[in-house]
Amino acid sequence: MAAVKFTLNGKSQTVDVTPQMPLLWVLRDSLGMTGTKFGCGMALCGACAVHINGQPTRSCVTQVSTVAGKTVTTIEGLSSDNSHPVQKAWIEADVPQCGYCQSGQIMTAAALVAKTTNPSDSDIDEAMRGNLCRCGTYQAIRQAVHLAARYQAQAKGGAR
């Protein structure tokens, strides 16, 4: 056991766990933040995506010791009221079916629209192809990412 300190959704967080424990299980089991999902355990499906220092990262293969001193954002930290541009777009397009993969989809999309102001379909495919959805919401995801990019631009006050 060892204490690991990092910033989680804007607040300082210290956990005392086995350093090799993946961040996914620290979030879900130790901290009770179950919005981040377990899907494969091998960085193959994207259900566990979180942001570490702003970068979309697979928490299922990220040892908690490696996030010491870093900033972690989970789906719970994206907004407190579904006001993030990606969440708004996901609601507008009614993307989720079962919804299990959607935390990971949304975190990946949020990272995309944060750095790419007007993503093309191929930008979206490239950024999102690591996120599996067995319900087949891909067409709605494409539509929602375009919408999210527009909301993001509006939020920044920049008209396109």
């Binding site: 086995t18 009770g32 259900a47 919804g99 949304i106």
Partner: protein, 697 residues
């Protein structure tokens, strides 16, 4: 437990309509006299109204993405005349009124079995609210009308909210002889309000089975024999117990479980187990061996499943003959949420928190394992992170209850890994089919024969549906079936037998069309006059896909149709094939599922079923080697991803027929639509899935 599961599901599937009728009676059971605690007041099994003016609906069909939370609410809201924004939903426990002893969501039956009783439940509650308002105003209830969570006095325009009326109204007797609205009066049915569960699905708060947390809960991971039906011979837990966080190691009927302070410790402890297995009689099973064995079975006559005229005689005398063998592999369901269940066993009762498609089976297995009466085993239904038929079984619940019983009274959550999921599924069966078809000199089919070798479950029908019930008017037909002996567990997989047999049937029919020199759509049209709704979707998809008109260079079309789950579906796929690699660019789908409840959900389900089916064309297959499943995770069982998603266009036939199913409507016919397009592109027949690029170059 597998045999119990299958027997129960089979018997239910045959009596689904009867259970729907049970609901009708059940919701009228009196609830008067029942102690009301704070919170919404119960009107009947499906409707509660709060004094705060909220309306709570009991959603008895599990939500796994197919939209029951929203679409069942629409059925209730249509008649209740409530405010859509004031609706709350919850999942009720297992009760006869909800379909027990087979309460669940399966067979694309949720809308079909809820269509009448839920509208009646909504109407009954509305009439009670109107009656209460009439009594308060001391007027005849004909002077009152319900709208938008209020009752209006049409003479005075006075209004009372549902919340204000709830307490008085719930005490009234449930009315009988209610006349439901006609289709022309629908305001909610046939529209697409936003899905009620979306907001909680975009912020991580929705609550799947895997998200359940109980005070003092421990976490389990279970090592099972890699060979089906194998048993533990002996094990050594010393190293596992040394892993930090591991609390206990227990043997259960299906393997050795490690129980720990968190999921990861349980998984790490499990890796440290040393187990000697008695692998049993299936330890030498391999996919090549099975194929060889099944080919031998297909050479011999099977059990007759459909016979008309003299297929063998007509084939012998046919002007043109077509013969082909088709094969499909075992498939895993692979829902995104790995299987799991959280269980607490106490001397006086048992609680099961689970994302289950058939809550009754979860309850029954808990009662069997614990010895408690079923009514002391309470199932708390969670949202399902995908089902596709996998969560209709209760094998994972049985495991969790056995572990929790050993740890009683501590609650334990059992979590399957993805490897567990792919290697210990109850699979869509593999199948081997030998076809022959005869045509006369004019190119009209005179005979059709199919010999199916496929492990059945829940009755032999699941092995042959999609071929046995094919709708083409061919005078001489023989469908035979042989069940091979195999230890691989098989069960319901989205669209069941239609998932492989529609591929076989529609691809072989394309071969017959080609032998006749006929256009594939035209060939089908001539044979479908007896099934007008299927013919209609074929004609619609041909029109909407511009069938017969030129395509961009390198693109080719294929068609497939199916009639299943009370609905009718036709698809045209546009594909290109480059160096053996198949790309699906566009899919046009026409569907007739009777009365539409929510067109947006129908469109989403069509897209969903297409993705689910398309993944099996080029990518997915479960193979066996030395009795073990070869595929381990999404690296070698890799469903289609967003960059492989075609543009999907959905055309819904307007209809006032009773609703059909939708969840399994589009999975079957995408497969032949794609492989028939591949034939158009390459002149190579795809007779085995998944397609390998080498087969097409």
């Amino acid at each position: 437990m597998k045999s119990l599961t299958n027997v129960n599901r089979r018997s239910f599937l045959k009596t689904g309509a009867a259970v729907g009728g049970g609901l009708l009676v059940g919701f009228q059971l009196p609830v008067r006299g029942q102690a009301q605690t704070a919170g919404p007041i119960k009107f009947n099994a499906f409707v509660k109204v709060g004094t705060d003016d909220t309306v709570t609906f009991e959603i008895h069909k599990s939500e796994m993405g197919q939209g029951t939370v929203t679409s069942l609410s629409q059925l209730l809201a249509e008649e209740l005349e409530c405010d859509w924004k004031k609706i709350r939903t919850e999942f009720p426990g297992v009760e006869p009124v909800y379909g027990a002893p087979m309460m669940g969501a399966y067979g694309s039956l949720s809308i079909r079995t809820s269509w009448q009783p839920l509208r009646q439940a909504g109407a009954a509650a509305r009439e009670m609210l109107i009656q209460a308002a009439a009594q308060q105003w001391k007027v005849d209830k004909s002077q009152c009308r319900a709208e938008n969570n209020t009752v209006v006095n049409t003479a005075t325009n006075a209004r009372l909210t549902y919340g204000a009326l709830a307490e008085a109204a719930a005490k009234l007797p449930a009315p009988t002889g209610i006349t439901l609205k006609t289709a022309a009066q629908y305001k909610v049915i046939g529209t697409s309000p936003k899905r009620l569960d979306t907001p909680a699905k975009v912020n991580g708060s929705i609550g799947f089975g895997l998200d359940v947390r109980r005070p003092g809960m421990l976490y389990a991971s279970l090592e099972r024999c890699p060979v089906f039906e194998g048993k533990v011979a002996s094990f050594d837990a010393t190293k596992a117990m040394a892993v930090p966080g591991v609390r206990k190691v227990v043997q259960i009927s299906n393997g050795v479980a490690v129980i720990a302070d968190n999921t990861w410790s349980a998984m790490e402890g499990r890796k440290a187990l040393v187990i000697k297995w008695d692998e049993g009689k299936w330890a030498n099973v391999s996919t090549p061996g099975l194929r060889q064995e099944w080919a031998g079975l297909a050479a011999k006559p099977g059990m007759s499943m459909r016979k008309a005229g003299d297929a063998a005689g007509a084939f012998a005398g046919a002007a043109k003959k077509v013969e082909a063998v088709y094969e499909a592999p075992y498939l895993s369901h692979a829902p995104m949420e790995p299987l799991n269940a959280t269980v607490e066993v106490r001397p006086d009762g048992c609680d099961i928190w689970v994302s289950s498609q058939i809550q009754s089976l979860a309850q029954q297995t808990a009662a069997m394992v614990t010895g408690l009466p079923a009514n002391k085993c309470l199932v708390h239904t969670q949202y399902l992170g995908g089902g596709f038929g996998r969560r209709g079984g209760a094998d994972y619940v049985t495991e969790a209850v056995e572990i929790a019983k050993a740890m009683s009274p501590t609650p334990v959550k059992l979590t399957w890994t993805r490897e567990d999921d792919l290697q210990h599924d109850t699979y869509r069966p593999a199948s081997y089919v030998k076809f022959s078809g005869g045509l006369d000199a004019q190119g009209s089919p005179v005979s059709f024969s199919a010999r199916v070798v496929c492990p059945p479950f829940g009755g032999n029908g699941t092995a042959v549906e999609g071929i046995q019930d094919m709708h083409y008017a061919i005078p001489n037909v023989a469908v035979e079936f042989t069940a091979p002996d195999t230890g691989t567990p098989v069960s319901y997989w989205r669209s069941v037998g239609y998932s492989q047999n529609t591929y076989f049937m529609e691809a072989f029919l394309d071969e017959m069309a080609a032998a006749a020199g006929a256009d594939p759509v035209e060939f089908r049209r001539k044979l479908l006059a007896g099934t007008p709704r299927l013919l209609n979707v074929l004609n619609l998809v041909a029109e909407k896909s511009d069938w017969g008109k030129p395509l961009p260079a390198g693109r080719f079309r294929g068609v497939g149709v199916v009639a299943n789950i009370g609905s009718f579906n036709a698809q045209v796929a546009e594909v290109s094939v480059t160096q053996g690699k198949v790309k699906v660019h566009r899919v046009v789908c026409a569907v007739d599922c009777g009365q539409v409840i929510n067109p947006a959900i129908i469109e989403a389900q069509i897209q969903s079923g297409i993705v689910y089916g398309m993944s099996t064309v080029t990518k997915l297959g479960i193979t066996l080697d030395k009795g073990r499943v070869v595929q381990k995770n999404f690296n070698n069982y890799d469903p289609i991803r967003i960059d492989e998603m075609p543009v999907v266009e959905v055309h819904i036939v307007p209809s006032r027929e009773n609703p059909g199913g939708i969840g399994e409507a589009s999975t079957p016919s995408i497969v032949p639509a794609v492989v028939n397009a591949v034939y158009a592109a390459t002149k190579k027949r795809v007779r085995m899935l998944p397609i390998k690029a080498a087969d097409l170059v």
